[in-house]
């Protein structure tokens, strides 16, 4: 069916959207502007505080001077002012045509708010979960404090293992969500082969995760979005330095550097590589592979006038991995660079903005080593006996993204529209079995993928709120034009406060995505090549959530409970045929025939993900913290006519975080994660393989993904002490990662498991390889 044919399906939706405008326009009233400024108890201005109106849709944020202006009909209104780290304030404001004064709002700090891992600071988005760096500081870090390592503590988010930092949102694949930085798209912001994220938490204000309902103006992804937001100046300069096991970092947040321009600059660089290299050169093992990384982020935010502001963002990551055991191999290097510009404009009821993002991710590796053990190679030796490797990785993935958006809001309704484009140009080349191992095992030994894609998109969204019940309804549609076809993605969100402290929300989405990686990456892989399938992947998502915040003495203890049920149907999930694995590829590194141009032979299958999540957290002003989440979800797809679990399917996931003050400014924290093992392929048969003059077992795999690897369990404990001295806040911390030394394999190896089970007396190997051992670490940071 031609894609344009879909327009008929959603003509009713568009009609309904358009109908919102005239209906509500008739209720327009005479308006006036209410002005105010938000300050902390110390008198500092609070920027980017959200100002909303109870019972109405009007909202705005404070600018760099901490002040706001919001248009309201003449009358009395209750304004709600929120900012992460502060207790919300509600004030009565009178809107008059001749309002003389400026309101002054003082926010009290909320120690219980930032300490908890899950913060619902943006209450206007019911399906958004937020993590703050303050909360990250409570988690025992895996070497480095890392936002991506904290997200699996949230309900519905899974991470494969300790050595793979990619995330699975709501049962989706790891390439089904987008990561953005201040609204700019990123491609692979990870360090050390995706073990950890490439962000210094000191530079972040918060991390928002959107899974169950995706606003139409966001990047279209079938599983959601992880949005990182950088810190903004709060009236005075702030500086921070950190020293961890792996790296050293520094962050400066300077307000009004050039006139009205606030500057945030942060940089981080590893030093462990130099230490390990030195140890290796001094007689240590030549097998040590030394990771080296650095990242930097600079933002310059300028308030040109009360209406106009802009932000320039520069982001850079770079990794190099030295193969110290080889003299001929060039180090693998990969990284990402982003230049982003955003301009915002506010005028009365109008909000508008423009964004331009230039992103480039590259990978380069050249390994040409030839160390043949000639003269002693037997006729049936394994190929592993030869040391000859010839591999090349040369990847260049460029992404230019731009968007214009505008919003007009009244008290009971709001409309927003946006247009944008995403132009991507990929030039990826690889050669050699070693190269495919470093990228994706499913790639052929040689391939060259050159492709461009232009996605033009437009979105329209209308929101209403009922005066009596406070029911908020949002209806929107996103249209994307790709290669002459147009795809429409309607979305709806209804949120209703059924009681004083209980809010129910229902989201219904259709989503499209226009790129894919060839398969799930393994541990140790670099930035994966991204391909543009012939047709988009799409999914229908339905989610229902309930959030309960019991009333009580919020001065002492705050409790929050949330639950959600979601279902997702991937109508077109691009997958490779099960037979397309490296096992079946020719065992030669010198391909013959035509130039090795290659695109994945995707087939499109139907997939399902359903789940139930429950989360709670309790925090008190005395420093107690208790948080937990349980996720029950299944993720399956139908390949070759058989419904199987996906490789990332983990039915049960349980997380917990407990913190308690020990006195004398010491804090104790314990974090635990348990989840089911991933779906794996069992060993169906053991036969033999001739090897030189002997025979070794050959394990024949059975039905794909019908068995399950051992479960994952990890408990981390940490203590930290913070104190103020010399006008600075000092924090020292000590952590014990995997304190119980659980044997968590990172890549299940059925062959190892079979070999173990066949050995007389058995052995303790459960088939997992390279799991994280007990790992102590120390850290120190100073903020001034």
């Amino acid at each position: 069916m031609p894609a344009w044919g879909k327009t008929r399906c959603y003509s009713g939706v568009a009609t309904a959207l358009l109908a919102l405008l005239p209906l509500r326009s008739a209720s327009a009233q005479v308006a006036a502007v209410v002005r105010g400024c938000v300050l902390s108890a110390r008198g500092d201005t609070i920027v980017q505080a959200s100002v909303s109106v109870r019972g109405a849709l009007n909202q705005t944020r404070t600018s760099n001077d901490g002040c706001f202006a919001i248009a309201l009909p003449v009358g009395e209104w209750r304004l709600v002012i929120r900012r992460l780290g502060y207790r919300p304030a509600e004030i009565l404001a009178r809107s008059e045509r001749e309002t003389p004064g400026v309101l002054s709002v003082v926010l009290e700090p909320a120690t219980t708010e930032l300490g908890r891992l899950v913060v619902n600071g943006e209450s206007l988005s019911p399906f958004t979960t937020t993590v703050t760096p303050t909360a990250l500081r409570q988690l025992p870090p895996l070497g480095e404090r890392d936002p991506f390592r904290a997200l699996p503590f949230l309900p519905g988010i899974a991470q494969p293992n300790d050595l793979l930092g990619r995330l699975h949102l709501a049962g989706g694949a790891s390439d089904e969500h987008v990561i953005t930085l201040n609204g700019h798209p990123l491609q692979a912001p990870f360090h050390i082969n995706s073990v950890m994220g490439a962000f210094n938490p000191a530079s972040l204000d918060r991390v928002d995760v959107v899974m169950h309902h995706l606003p139409v103006s966001r990047f279209d992804r079938v599983s959601g979005s992880i949005d990182l937001h950088t810190r903004e100046a709060a009236g005075r300069a702030e500086r921070e330095a950190q020293l961890s096991v792996l790296s050293v970092s520094g962050t400066v947040l300077e307000p009004s550097v050039f006139g009205n321009t606030d500057v945030l600059a942060t940089a981080r660089a590893s030093y462990l590589d130099a230490v390990l290299k030195r140890l290796s050169l001094d007689g240590g093992s030549d097998d040590i592979r030394v990771p080296s990384f650095r990242d930097a982020l600079v933002t310059a935010r300028t308030q040109w006038s009360r209406r106009l502001d802009s932000e320039v963002l520069l982001f850079h990551t770079q990794d190099r991995w030295f193969e110290s055991g080889s003299s001929t191999a060039a180090p693998a290097a990969w990284g990402e660079n982003l230049i982003g510009v955003r301009v915002g404009y506010r005028e009365g009821r109008w909000n508008g903005g423009a964004r331009v993002s230039l992103n480039r991710a590259t990978v380069a590796q050249r390994t040409l080593a030839d160390d043949v053990q000639s003269g002693h190679v037997g006729p049936l030796e394994s190929s592993a006996m030869g040391q000859r490797t010839t591999s090349l990785i040369d990847m260049d993935q460029q992404w230019v993204s731009a968007q214009l958006d505008a919003q007009y809001q009244r008290e009971r309704w709001r409309v927003a529209a946006a247009i944008g484009l995403d132009a991507r140009n990929h030039d990826n080349a690889w050669l050699g079995l070693d190269a495919t191992e470093r990228l994706l095992n499913e790639l052929p030994p040689a391939g060259h993928y050159v492709a461009s894609q232009l996605v033009r998109n437009g979105s329209f969204e209308g929101t209403t709120i009922t005066e009596r019940w406070g029911i908020r309804s949002t209806l929107g549609v996103r249209a994307s034009a790709v290669g002459g076809s147009v795809y429409f993605a309607p979305r709806a969100l209804v949120s209703a406060p059924v009681a004083t402290n209980i809010t129910l929300s229902l989201g219904l989405d259709r989503r499209f995505q226009f790129d894919a990686i060839a398969a799930e990456p393994n541990e140790g892989t670099l930035t994966q090549p991204v391909f543009f399938p012939m047709r988009p992947r799409s999914a229908d998502v339905a989610a229902f959530s309930a959030a309960w915040r019991p009333s009580g003495d919020e001065q002492r203890t705050r409790v929050q409970v949330s639950a959600a049920v979601f279902g997702k149907r991937n109508r077109d999930r691009p997958v490779l045929p099960l037979a397309t694995t490296s096992d079946d590829l020719p065992q030669t590194a010198t391909p013959v025939g035509p130039p090795p141009s290659w695109a994945p032979p995707f087939t499109f299958v139907v997939g399902y993900a359903v789940g139930t999540t429950v989360g709670f957290d309790i925090a008190s002003t005395s420093g107690w913290l208790l948080q937990g989440s349980y996720t029950r979800q299944r993720s399956r797809d139908a390949r070759d006519g058989v419904i199987r679990p996906t490789p990332w399917d983990a039915p049960h996931q349980l997380t917990g975080l407990f913190g308690v003050p020990l006195g004398r400014k010491w804090q104790f924290t314990m974090a635990g994660q348990f989840r089911s093992g991933p779906a794996v392929t069992p060993i169906a048969l053991t036969v033999l393989n001739p090897f030189s003059q002997s025979y070794v077992p050959r394990y024949i795999p059975g039905e794909p993904l019908t068995a399950r690897a051992p479960a994952f369990f990890r408990a981390d404990i940490g203590v930290q002490r913070s104190w103020i001295a010399r006008r600075a806040t000092w924090v020292v911390s000590a952590q014990a990662i995997n304190a119980l030394a659980s044997d968590n394999g990172v890549r299940y190896d059925g062959v190892a498991a079979a070999a173990c089970s066949g050995r007389p007396g058995g052995c303790t190997n459960n088939g997992g390889t390279g799991g994280l051992p007990f790992l102590p670490s120390l850290g120190i940071e100073v903020r001034w």
């Binding site: 043949v372 006729p379 036969v687 003059q693 077992p697 498991a753």
Partner: protein, 338 residues
Amino acid sequence: MTSLMCKAPARMRRQLSAFCFFFAACACGCEPSAPLIAESDELMVYVVLESSPSDFAPQPITAVVARSATPAVEFLSAHVFSMRRASDGRLFDWREQPTISIGIGQLSGNYVLAEALSDVGALGRDSLMPGDRYDLWVETRGRTITGSVTLPGRPVLRLHRGVELDTIMWAPVAGAAAYRTPDGRLSADTMWIGNRQSAGTRYFVTAVDPQLAQYLRSPRLAQSGVAGSLGLFGGQVTVSLKVPPDGAASAASSGSASATHLTEESAATSSHLQNEAAFHRQILLSSRCLATAGLLERGGSKAEREAGVKRESICLASVKGDSHSLQLWSKGGVYGPL
């Protein structure tokens, strides 16, 4: 249950319903998973015949008759284990031997082929000849396992001694589906390039028959060349080439920086390499190709660089069948055949 629900207070009913809903949602996803290691019980027979050079002291040729009682392997004593040469029907001298564990996970075979003609006239290992066909007949546990294999021809190796590289080439031989190169890889190519080795080093190249090649190339294959059981009946022919002394090489090369030497084992020139100049050019280009790719630090001439041989390029040396090609491949395009 229904009446109980009706009598319960409304609040309790709501809570009970919510619990039931949550429990049902959880239970819906429950399903038993398969065991990680499935149990199996299958007959297996493995025989790989090999003809190797006379001056090479090979290990004995062994065979396996066993039962795959996954995860352990149980060796079996065959009621009949016979192998005949198809051309004249003569029997080979296979004998049962005790099995031993060679290393972790490595086992010896439980049948061994005699090295030479036995007293009773049965053939030994030295009677395995390239190009001959052999038939296998095994009876055990009431089952009959049969198979047939033809040993491939004997490759003739040519050695080129470069300044920093050794190149070995050979012509395709009948009955070979793949070749095991000196670095142990299984390849369809008939050329191999490696670092220059010192004089006296011996290179081995093995021609592999289709049944063994298929088995080695497909790690998920459980049967190739046998009928009636799992297992393998394959054959291979190994030849070796000894690197001559450097002095002799210099004398033979007549001052050339990259000369071609014919060894005593590759005296006959292959028919597909009539044009010696073209072959020589290929070797030069191959060396330069690898050099520009970073393996060696020899730089190309200005003309070569202008021809598009960039540092980012990489060499695809491909020699298959009677056609030889050498491609320099980079993201700027494919340059070749050269």
